[in-house]
Symmetry: C2
Subunit: 212 residues, 2 copies
């Protein structure tokens, strides 16, 4: 069965939208999803950015928030702007890597994104994450302790972030197919799944203008 790597960052607004859509879109095409959290901070820093480009470039940022509002409304998805933005997703990302091994990474990640972008809460708050885990039937306190202490988990998140940079990633969400095609952005999700299934784009794009 074809698969796609779903690279996401917990601070990323469009990663929230993609996390809400990807399992449905992929399942319809018979494609499996590998959830791969990483950190954008080191990648942005290497480009000379000290914050989100949505903060550095105000016109771009203003339209991003409006775009999110429009799309979330069109999806029937709750949306609230978190403060501060961007949030610190380090602990959530470490927890997600534990969840990748234990089979709860997808529902955990969606719950963290909803905490942040629907409820507008702070995802770097350990107590909030304990509650998210508990709602999934997990021992939140033990998992947060492990995410804070486990050197292997910390090293793995660093290695994943380095792998993302090495694969050419420069933003989130990004999707990488088994044959190495990189697609960037929630608006490329359908194309990435199409490519994962067919090895080329088949249905995602309209015909060009045929008039002279």
């Amino acid at each position: 069965m074809a698969s796609v790597d779903f690279w996401y960052e917990f601070a990323s607004t469009y990663s929230y939208l993609a996390a809400e859509r990807i399992e449905t879109v992929a399942a319809e095409a018979g494609v499996t999803v590998r959830w791969r959290p990483f950190l954008l901070g080191p990648i942005f820093a290497a480009q000379g950015w000290t914050s989100s480009p949505f903060n550095l470039y105000p016109a771009k940022g203003a339209n991003m928030w409006r775009d999110l509002e429009r799309i979330a409304a069109g999806m029937g998805l709750p949306f609230g702007r978190p403060d501060p933005f961007p949030q610190n997703g380090l602990l959530a990302a470490r927890l997600a890597l534990i969840g990748a091994d234990e089979g709860w990474i997808a529902p955990f990640s969606r719950a963290v994104f909803r905490l942040e972008f629907a409820a507008g809460r702070d995802i770097s708050d350990q107590d909030e994450l304990v509650e998210v885990l508990a709602a999934l039937g997990l021992d939140g306190v033990a998992l947060v302790d492990r995410a804070n202490a486990d050197k292997d988990v910390k090293a793995r998140l660093r290695a994943e972030t380095e792998a993302a940079a090495a694969a050419g990633l420069y933003g989130a969400p990004s999707f990488v197919t088994e044959d190495g095609e990189l697609f960037w952005g929630n608006d490329r999700l359908e194309q990435a799944i199409d490519w994962a299934r067919n090895g080329r784009l088949t249905t995602s794009v309209a015909a060009p203008e045929t008039r002279p």
Copy 2:
């Protein structure tokens, strides 16, 4: 009849794709299109960029070219990377403004984009633009002379670029509806037309994940 402003820059790769699609997408929805060329250079300069962000950020640029290749292939549209990039679209934009008054702006603009991104030629070359105009049955030499000399045309392009910045534009292509909604990017074309027709997004977005 609802209408949408189509803001584009002749140096912009994704403006090429949008120019090829917009009349078809808009006509299917019963929306009319106002073609509005402008210059991104002053807007980028105000953000501190001295070149295209696709040149300033190599990973982003590399993926943009690959994205273009994939989408153009999916559309059955010829695509070649121009050298140098970005090109100087000043004369083409002035000519297009004359074409807006005289009714040939859309086919002229599509022909310029194809010259640049399909044939890989230099759109700042006056002889190339004379040929483009001649192929549309126009007096290319006279029009190029006018575009180079007419102070009203030059002032109008400056005013259009200022209007674009005042409307919050920060990239191209962008689409603005009559009620002031700004949509950025070729991948937002369908949403912009949907909004122009319905005042909200109705069909362009998928349902969110419903699993826990």
